[in-house]
């Protein structure tokens, strides 16, 4: 399902709960799939005793991947032309994340309609963990 330019306006939003009560196992699953085995994400003993953090925490790229799921569910498959984020706060086991996209502009690019989106993913305390932007191709 792709978005139609004719049915979309600036300020429209879409949000999804992209993870509830994030488990350490899901973080391990992401380490295995992505190949990033940094023990800060999977090894509680190292992270607490050697690195000095309160617990392991999620890969930034896991949070970006979770946020991307909300985006592709909304704009459709293979529709993104750009997707970029800043990681503004760490994501911890037990976090519940809501990802939201807002239409910032609808414009033409290379003769095709696209939407520029602003993105924000927040945790259960309302703290932003990812902020970013994306551009997606629209149907007329």
């Amino acid at each position: 399902m792709a978005l139609k330019a004719s049915a979309l306006k600036v300020g429209d939003t879409h949000s999804e709960r992209v993870v509830e009560n994030l488990s350490r196992t899901q973080i391990v699953q992401y380490a295995g799939a992505s190949g990033d085995y940094n023990p800060l994400h999977t090894d509680e003993v190292y992270t607490v005793q050697a690195a000095g953090y309160p617990s392991v925490f999620a890969h930034g790229m896991l949070t970006m991947g979770l946020t991307g799921k909300m985006l592709t569910n909304w704009v459709g498959d293979g529709r993104l032309t750009k997707f970029g984020v800043r990681f503004t706060n760490q994501v911890w086991p037990g976090d519940t994340l809501d990802a939201k996209a807002t239409v910032a502009a609808i414009r033409e690019e290379n003769g095709k309609q696209v939407a520029d989106l602003t993105i924000s993913t927040t945790n259960q305390d309302g703290k932003e963990v990812v902020s970013g932007t994306a551009t997606a191709r629209l149907d007329p």
């Binding site: 792709a2 992209v18 993870v19 899901q26 699953q29 992401y30 295995g32 799939a33 992505s34 190949g35 990033d36 085995y37 940094n38 023990p39 800060l40 999977t42 090894d43 003993v45 190292y46 607490v48 005793q49 050697a50 690195a51 000095g52 953090y53 309160p54 890969h59 930034g60 790229m61 896991l62 970006m64 991947g65 979770l66 991307g68 799921k69 985006l71 592709t72 569910n73 459709g76 498959d77 293979g78 993104l80 032309t81 750009k82 997707f83 970029g84 984020v85 800043r86 990681f87 760490q90």
Partner: protein, 160 residues
């Protein structure tokens, strides 16, 4: 840094999509994907990061015969390892020319970008390093550009 060959495989895409909790059939069901707008299985938008699996020198993967800084008998397998392993991911940006598909064999080249510093109350001196990565397909065509920014902190990020 040399060029990396990154074969894109269906089972790897399936595992990656599972890890981000994405049940969209276009990432794991070839039949359903064939009937979709994209005409076949594609990779999710952040999949390109998994190129790390194919980097022979990737420093965040334990390697046979080498000491690993994660815990074993003690909290770290490398004694005298500084308290903060330092590297955190600050930003990631992608430009997509086309989706990645199983069967693609990508050639991936990373070049260093800008470096800058900033003072932070929560983590001391921050050093930011940018890396720009180009993904080219088996025809030599550019399919994707990634720009990552890593940050090393002077001390662990204060959670206060």
């Amino acid at each position: 840094m040399g060029k990396i060959t990154f074969p894109v495989e269906a089972s790897h895409i399936m595992m990656f999509a599972r890890a981000v909790g994405d049940t969209n059939p276009v990432y794991h069901d070839a039949e359903a994907a064939k009937k979709s707008e994209v005409g076949g299985v594609i990779a999710p938008p952040t999949f390109a990061q998994a190129v790390a699996q194919f980097d022979p020198d990737y420093h965040l993967r334990p390697k046979a015969g080498e000491k690993w800084f994660g815990s074993a008998k003690g909290p770290s397998g490398i004694e005298g390892k500084p308290a903060s392993s330092g590297g955190l991911h600050a930003e990631q940006h992608y430009e997509y020319i086309r989706p990645l598909r199983p069967g693609d064999v990508l050639t991936v080249e990373t070049k260093p970008g800008k470096t800058w510093e900033k003072e932070s109350k929560r983590a001391g001196k921050l050093t930011f390093r940018e890396r720009v990565t180009e993904y080219r397909d088996q025809k030599g065509e550019l399919v994707m550009i990634a720009r990552g920014v890593g940050v090393t902190t002077e001390r662990p990020v204060d959670q206060g």
